[in-house]
Amino acid sequence: MTKKEKFYDLLKKDYVVLDGGMGTMLQASGMKVGETPEMLNITNPELIQSIHEKYYEAGSDIVYANTFGANEYKLEECGHSVEELITAGIEIAKKARDKVNKNGLVALDLGPIGILLEPTGVLSFEAAYDMYARCVKAGASAGADLVVFETMTDLLDIKAAILAAKENSDLPILATMTFEQNLRTFTGCSISAFGLTVSGLDVDAIGINCSLGPKELEPVISELSKWTNKPLCLKPNAGLPDPKTNLYNVTALGFAGYMKDLRKYGIKIYGGCCGTTPEFIKEVTNMLKENGNIQREYVEIKAAVCSPTKTVVIDEPRVVGERINPTGKKIFQEALKNKNMEYILGQALEQTNAGADILDVNVGVPGINEVEMMVDTVKSLQSVVDVPLQIDSTDPKVIEAALRVYNGRPLVNSVNGEEESLKNILPIVKKYGGAIIGLALDENGIPKKGDDRVKIAKKIMDRCVSIGIDKKDIYIDCLTLTVSAEQEGCRETLKALSKVKNELGLKTILGVSNISFGLPNRVLVNHIFLTMALQSGLDLCIINPNIPEMMGAVMAYKVLACHDLNSVNYVAKYANMPKLKTVAVDNTGNSGNNVVTTSINLNDKKGNYEISDLSYAVKKGLKKEGADITRELLSKFDSMDIVNKALIPALDDIGAEFEKGTLFLPQLIMGASVASAAFEVIKENMQQNGSQKVSKGKIVIATVKGDVHDIGKNIVKVLLENYGFEVIDLGKDVPYEDVVNAIRDNDVHLCGLSALMTTTLVSMKETIELIRKNNLDCKVMVGGAVLTPEYAKEIDADFYAADAKESVDIARRVLG
């Protein structure tokens, strides 16, 4: 019998009982707090074995080996390897099992690594995967019957762990996370996101452990039971601890009593966490023996996609933002080639602020490594936006790479009716548990007739279902054709959409903008078509959410179709809408939403700005006005005049005031941001006129390895850019070699390093050493709260910058 069969055999029982606390037992036997418990597998195996035996005797079907923290990060200083401690741990548990309960199972127990993953922490997904893989391999070869991941708080962490287990062993997996009373983990992960994502990864059982007592965990297990059909596990603490004495407040009998009430949620696997002892397990076993368990019914799970913090249920029309896509956009293509993540993040935040529920992400442009770019983009986007993403690529390799690192449950765009596509895409969607978009086309192209598109949709559906992808996770795109070329095409698309929805019972998705290609006043056609599609049953609208008419069509539809109850969202959005004098719509498909102007005194001069007005806007931190004035000024003045007569003097002034202390930091930054917005306008203008870029020189900046504080570095960047320097920003936690490579590859002569902690000054020193060792003709300036001019000298920096203003002075001196 394989390990999996053995586990499923056990699940056939009415109920399965786990063990209780290990740490609790160890501390009771005198282990000092702060010690590495896994060391006892070597130093006192008898103690560990006796605890396992007590649990088996109390009724445990499965005990967790003493391996919770046996990963290479936590064991770093203990003098034993991961393999040694895990092998010993599993062996001890097996001995106890053979002695007491021959049918019992032994679990390799793994908790979180102990350092947080990016973006909050510094551990990469890939490094976390490797650490878990090492543990799993050791556990599997030592003869564990299953692997348990428990006390997890970060969804991406548990995803790395699950993939490591699946790809490095055949062991069944029980995955449990730890939720607080607010129904979130410490990192903000919701129960629905956990249920959707981890069930999608196809673990063998799923559940909740630690943090609270059984009574407090009722809402948690109740919620989880709505988001998964996997066998459920509950392993609560012995109530809540008294902060003073650290003793838990629920007795063994009381614990079993609460667990009895919780059977109604269809729990299959019962156990105890912190504060519980063999006595608790005995009471739980007795309770189940006496009362029997309550088996779970199949639950209909809602169609949804998610990030850790946001679950989007597709039970009403939702907006998919289409802007992260380089097709036909020169600036975007440029940004991708230069790996300008800032630009892409800007596009993302603009769309989420406009109300996008999901963001489509396409980074395919010739001449770049799309796999790498997609992975970087997904990671960066998820560090700032909380909406779920829609991974958009034609290359299965790109899709798989993105699905691996995606935190949550994404949509995949797309598969189509072609054999090649079905064969390549569906298995990876199944493996990572995503939802899939199916395009109603095949090797013969897009069928003219709607009914033929429905046939392809049916084929895609059948193939999905046969591979194990649920029907509710399929979204069919019936494809929009250009109405100016094929006028009947619109009717066919809508007919197909309606049939896919009503006859096949699938969800639908549609990009609408193509409809109006070649027509004037495109927004008008687009939003009317969108309304027609909504009426035909459209679920996901791929649109540009920044266009008010498009978002407006969705908002209004939701009122009329009774999705937006009492028009709450509609009113919230439009109640305070300023009256527009004109609705300017041009024929490029962009509507003019720039009619609302500001209320400052500059208003009076509209259309008649002077250079001095721009200086004023910079000094007062008026960002929007700054950009508007610049646009105006460009019609009368040379762009270099605007830079040299308005922007630079204004920046010098606020810099000087900052030095004197008459202006404080946020004001300096606000001014700098206005100047940035003005430069942005000038840059666009120059690009259109085909003028040369002006650069005063390149500067590499980075927050050093191990340090994730980057506010200071960001301020420096904005100021340097304002003064015309080209900044290559390597970000935070930057490896030494990356700094060296960036300097060498870009022929850079000034580098700025930032560190905010005494412990990361060492990394700063190492980085400088490596720069020197490589004989680069590059000066180094350093800054950061804990740094002193003396220390800067000591670590061989060329300059110490006390603040952002000084870094500009240094750059001017070095690069002229």
Binding site: G34, G346, T758
Partner: protein
């Protein structure tokens, strides 16, 4: 465990962190300040954990009993002189704050800086509230000031083990990375001495601080405590 309800955050304190020196502020800065004050309170999830230890005084430091934590340094030894017990505390306002700072740094840099300062002032407020709770809890006893891990000559390298001893990762979600930095970043760890004796009132001071002579707050003529 008593729940912490946040009061409005001390604006003066937050501005002091930004090096503010009583200059006149425009309306747009003032409204930015108000927005940040409110937003920090909205996002912050104050949590704390504490544990009372017996400790053993060694020549070069102290050992917290029943733990493997041997903290060396003159300043911590001095701090706990005359005390019978030591309370270890860890406080955080959660990871949502870090995320918001990250988002703001892409959308509004000035706001991210002000928000960051208010978040620091917020965690300070939570620390004070925790001290109030402890004072109630240990009525009749005297408490020293909060001695932060990393303060004076107490090395920051004890951070990882201190968090472990307080079980603060599991209980309130504080993690310590390879550089001994806590995540969520707006977190505080400290040791408070507890005694039945009268103790001279000691405060934190610039002299024992690692930033002494290189501190922006000091330069602007203020003090952080």
């Amino acid at each position: 465990m008593e729940k912490i309800i946040l009061d409005p955050i001390d604006k003066k304190e937050a501005l002091r962190y930004l090096g503010y020196r009583n200059t006149k502020l425009d309306d747009n800065i003032l409204s930015l300040i108000d927005e940040c004050e409110e937003r920090v309170r909205q996002i912050a999830t104050p949590r704390y954990v504490y544990k009372v230890f017996d400790f053993e005084e060694k020549e070069d430091g102290i050992i917290l009993e029943d733990t493997n934590l041997y903290m060396k340094g003159n300043s911590i030894t001095n701090h706990l002189k005359n005390c019978e017990k030591a309370i270890g505390i860890a406080v955080t306002i959660g990871e949502g704050i870090d995320r918001e700072i990250r988002v703001l740094s892409h959308t509004n840099l000035a706001k991210s800086v002000v928000f960051d300062a208010f978040a620091s002032a917020c965690v300070e407020q939570v620390c004070e509230k925790v001290e109030d709770i402890l004072r109630k809890e240990f009525k009749g006893l005297n408490m020293t000031f909060r001695f932060g891990i990393g303060y004076g000559d107490l090395s920051l390298s004890y951070q990882k083990n201190f968090i472990k001893v307080l079980d603060a990762t599991r209980k309130i979600g504080i993690n310590v990375g390879t550089t001994d930095m806590m995540i969520p970043t707006k977190s505080v760890t400290a040791i408070i001495g507890l005694t039945s004796k009268e103790i001279p009132r000691m405060n934190r001071n610039c002299r024992d601080c690692n930033l002494n002579g290189n501190c922006n707050i000091q330069k602007s003529g203020n003090r952080c405590m």
